[in-house]
């Protein structure tokens, strides 16, 4: 099986010097959800932003390649790259409110993509938007099309964004902490929806999260990052097993669980915590 996304030896550095992402390689196949896990400063969001071509100004890619269906995204002419975004590579953002334009109706935001990227007529685009909202299990889809974002609940907004992400049948979706802002019962529905949609459309998903619980429930493959480097990579069963890398196990031990008493919780060892703080500080510089 050939990979949809194939990142090789990616390096991201601060322009004034200092590594943020060091020699990271990973690949995501069609129909696969690949989890990118780590604490803040691990480099997971930087990698996702490098794929989407939206790195902050203080940061540059200083080495490696980002292979996407045979092309290297880093070498692509800006015009061709923009043509891919939205159409071949789509994003499900973290915050469902900022992901939508507050001043425009849902219908306008959904049909933009369909009309401009896929050249559909107004009527076609509206019919397809309606079908997409039904596919993400929104009841009264026709009414929702005519609403503004603030009139919808957080879960509904995230469903709309998922519908938009899948609207052009992209081969890769980058999901950046897509459920962090949601209530836990809504989170479960959204995770389920992402998996259903991804399976139905055979989409490759790069799933960025800090939550090992979410990883265990939605990912097939996992890359664990620490201070910009890969500490472990493999199938979900390996990562969740007791044979996982010491760093992964330390994170697991520091994750509280409602089914375990308080003394089962172990804060990460001091040296790991110092490294985490140093890495987080470097990232603060990247996002002033």
């Amino acid at each position: 099986m050939s990979a949809i996304l194939d990142i090789r030896d990616l390096r991201v550095t601060l322009r004034r010097g200092g590594h943020l992402v060091r020699d990271v390689s990973l690949s995501v196949n069609a129909g696969e959800v690949h989890g990118l896990v780590g604490e803040s400063g691990a480099g997971k969001t930087m990698i996702a932003r490098a794929v989407l071509g939206i790195l902050p100004d203080a940061v540059k890619v200083s080495g490696g390649k980002i292979g996407f269906r045979g092309d290297d995204l880093l070498q692509l002419a800006p015009k061709r790259f923009r043509a891919l975004l939205g159409r071949e590579i789509a994003l499900i953002p973290q915050d469902p409110l900022t992901g939508l334009n507050p001043a425009r109706r849902i219908s306008a935001q959904m049909t933009d993509m369909l009309r401009h990227h896929l050249g559909q007529s107004r009527q076609e685009a509206r019919a397809n938007a309606l079908r997409l909202l039904q596919e993400v299990q929104i009841r009264d889809a026709g009414q929702v099309l005519d609403r503004y974002p603030h009139e919808l609940s957080g879960g509904m907004r995230q469903r709309v964004l998922i519908a938009i992400a899948f609207s052009a049948e992209p081969s890769l979706i980058v999901a950046d902490e897509p459920t962090t802002a949601l209530d836990v019962t809504v989170q479960k529905q959204i995770l389920r929806l992402i998996r259903q949609m991804q399976e139905r459309h055979g989409t490759a998903v790069l799933f960025v999260t800090h939550d090992l619980g979410v990883v265990a429930k939605v990912c097939h493959q996992v890359t664990v990052l620490h201070t910009g480097q890969v500490v472990e990579q493999g199938g979900i069963a390996e990562i969740m097993s007791t044979g996982a890398a010491p760093f992964t196990r330390a994170l697991m031990g520091a994750t509280p669980r409602y089914d375990q008493p308080a003394d089962a919780l172990h804060p990460v060892p001091a040296h790991i915590h110092r490294e985490l703080l140093a890495a987080a500080r470097r990232f603060d510089e990247a996002n002033p």
């Binding site: 836990v184 619980g213 265990a216 429930k217 939605v218 697991m252 509280p256 919780l265 985490l276 703080l277």
Partner: protein, 520 residues
């Protein structure tokens, strides 16, 4: 002093809802907290969990009197602080401190950390001398694991975890007896979060603190809380020791919350278990007290047995004359004619532990809309089917709400969505039931009551003996209704005919209406 540090009785809070109401007019009041009672023993910790809008944050703020409660009583250290003004509260403030979610926005960016931590020490008169206050701040910073060297720094120089430690240092600097911590680890990484939780646990032990720990995250609450309260719609739906609530939740909503937490373990099929439809909660029949109207025959009678099989704790089987007996001791016969308001108010008192109401009673004259009868069929159908159901909802919504929430199930009909010309007045009454059900669903959602509309097709009972087949067996309809309730489906289309009509209406509404008109 012995006795609980904090005693709260029947606390309610109503605030103006600015999202509703007209411009320049006084906004309508909305109930945020509804009758909260709790005891917090000295040195113990109480976790408060709930989703957004549950009232958990408002409760925390009301307990430390940042909000003035609308009614009820708060005793802190034996003193009634419910209505004290800010001046009188000052003597208590140093003993009760609050830590907020976002340390970034609650720390003054222009002040050094030492001054920030010393601020409440001076303001609340714990120390009068600035030097002495800064000394206390140093001690608090040491206790919070930062070290007093941090006193010289500014908030922007700190990481998120360090800022939260400053928030903790500020809260403990006045040597309080109670700390209310609201979502204080939710923005933090796992590694930092574990350290903050460990720190709070140590402080609780060393300083003998009582702690109220508010969070949406059940796992985090488990780490710190001796006891847990689960909130929904401004009420407590379940309360108990952490171990009991998390290992053996009794309330359906608690179970639903727990089921939704993704644990870091591989569990194939987890995503597909019990999907809750947005807007309507799933309701587990197990352990519920259910009142069913119209149980003398037909679907009502079948409901009783199906509810028992699904694990209902008690079933009130209502009939017009109160007759009927059942071999199962959980069944209680109730005399209830839904057109009789005296019957309804008596039932609301005798069946006061009801958590699920199934409005099944209905009549059916099969008469045309323009035909007049000796007894006006249209008026009778509206009185029983519509007004009877509405009055039951009115009487039992407060009962169910008072029992911590539950469900109301209204039996409408697929004829609520399409009119059969030969029985137009029945259809109109069912349409009224369906419309009313949608209305109360919105009103009752915040009260922890899930409202279901059932739209079955033709069912094979003695009331429909004149109907042509196909007719569904009552047992199949009832099974589908209970499955729909437990899956949280707001509108339950029971039976193939109902699903067919509903699908047809969505695909080609005029064609379905034309087909129905063809029955003339």
């Amino acid at each position: 002093m012995t006795g609980p540090l904090l005693q709260v009785r029947d606390l309610t809070l109503s605030l103006p809802d600015r999202s509703r109401g007209k411009l320049f007019a006084k906004p309508p009041m909305t109930d945020i907290l509804r009758g909260i009672s709790l005891d917090l023993p000295r040195g113990e910790s109480l976790g408060i969990v709930g989703e957004s809008g549950s009232g958990k944050t408002s409760l925390g703020r009301t307990l430390v009197r940042l909000y003035q409660p609308t009614s009820g009583q708060i005793l802190f250290d034996g003193a009634d602080i419910t209505t004290l003004d800010e001046g009188a509260m000052r003597t208590h403030r140093k003993h009760m401190q609050m830590i907020f979610q976002d340390p970034q926005s609650s720390l003054n960016p222009r002040r050094r950390v030492g001054e920030i931590v010393a601020q409440p020490v001076l303001a609340l008169g714990v120390e009068r001398d600035r030097r002495a206050a800064l000394k206390r701040a140093d001690l608090a910073l040491d206790r919070a694991g930062l070290g007093h060297a941090f006193a010289r720094r500014y908030p922007h120089e700190l990481s998120g975890g360090q800022r939260q430690r400053v928030g903790i240092a500020r809260a403990i600097a006045t040597e309080p007896r109670l700390i209310v911590a609201d979502e204080i680890v939710s923005g933090l990484d796992v590694s930092t979060q574990a350290q903050i939780l460990a720190l709070l646990n140590d402080l609780k032990q060393d300083m003998g603190l009582s702690l109220i720990f508010i969070s949406h995250d059940l796992s985090v609450v488990r780490v710190l809380a001796d006891r847990v309260m689960v909130m929904l719609g401004g009420r407590v739906v379940e309360e108990g020791t952490s171990a009991d609530v998390f290992q053996g939740p009794r309330h359906a909503y608690t179970r639903q919350l727990i089921d939704a937490v993704p644990l870091p373990v591989i569990e194939p099929g987890w995503l597909d278990t019990k999907p809750a439809t947005e807007g309507t909660r799933m309701v587990d029949i197990k352990g519920q007290t259910v009142l069913v109207t119209g149980t003398s025959r037909g679907i009502g009678r079948v409901f009783v047995d199906a509810l028992l099989a699904a694990g209902a704790a008690r079933v009130y089987a209502a009939t017009r004359d109160g007759s009927g007996s059942h071999s199962d001791a959980r069944v209680v016969a109730v005399k209830l004619d839904v057109t009789n308001s005296a019957d309804i108010s008596t039932a609301a008192q005798t069946c006061a532990d009801t958590t699920v109401l199934i409005n099944n009673a209905g009549i059916n004259f099969n008469s045309k809309l323009l035909e007049t009868d000796q007894v006006d069929a249209a008026a009778a159908e509206i009185t029983t089917n519509y007004l009877g159901t509405l009055n039951m909802c009115r009487a039992f919504a407060p009962v169910i709400e008072g029992n911590g929430g539950g469900a109301i199930v209204n039996m409408a009909s697929i004829l609520a969505r399409v009119n059969l010309p030969l029985m137009g007045s029945l259809c109109a009454s069912k349409a009224a039931v369906y419309s009313m059900t949608q209305g109360i669903r919105a009103e009752l959602a915040s009260k922890g009551i899930a409202v279901f509309a059932v739209l079955p097709g033709a069912v094979d009972t003695d009331m429909t003996k004149d109907f042509p087949p196909p007719k569904a067996a009552p047992a199949d309809i009832v099974a589908e209704v209970l499955a729909g309730i437990q899956a949280g489906e707001a509108d339950i289309y029971a039976g193939d005919m109902a699903k067919g009509v509903s699908g047809g209406l969505a695909a080609d509404r005029p064609a379905v209406i034309a087909e129905m008109a063809g029955y003339v």
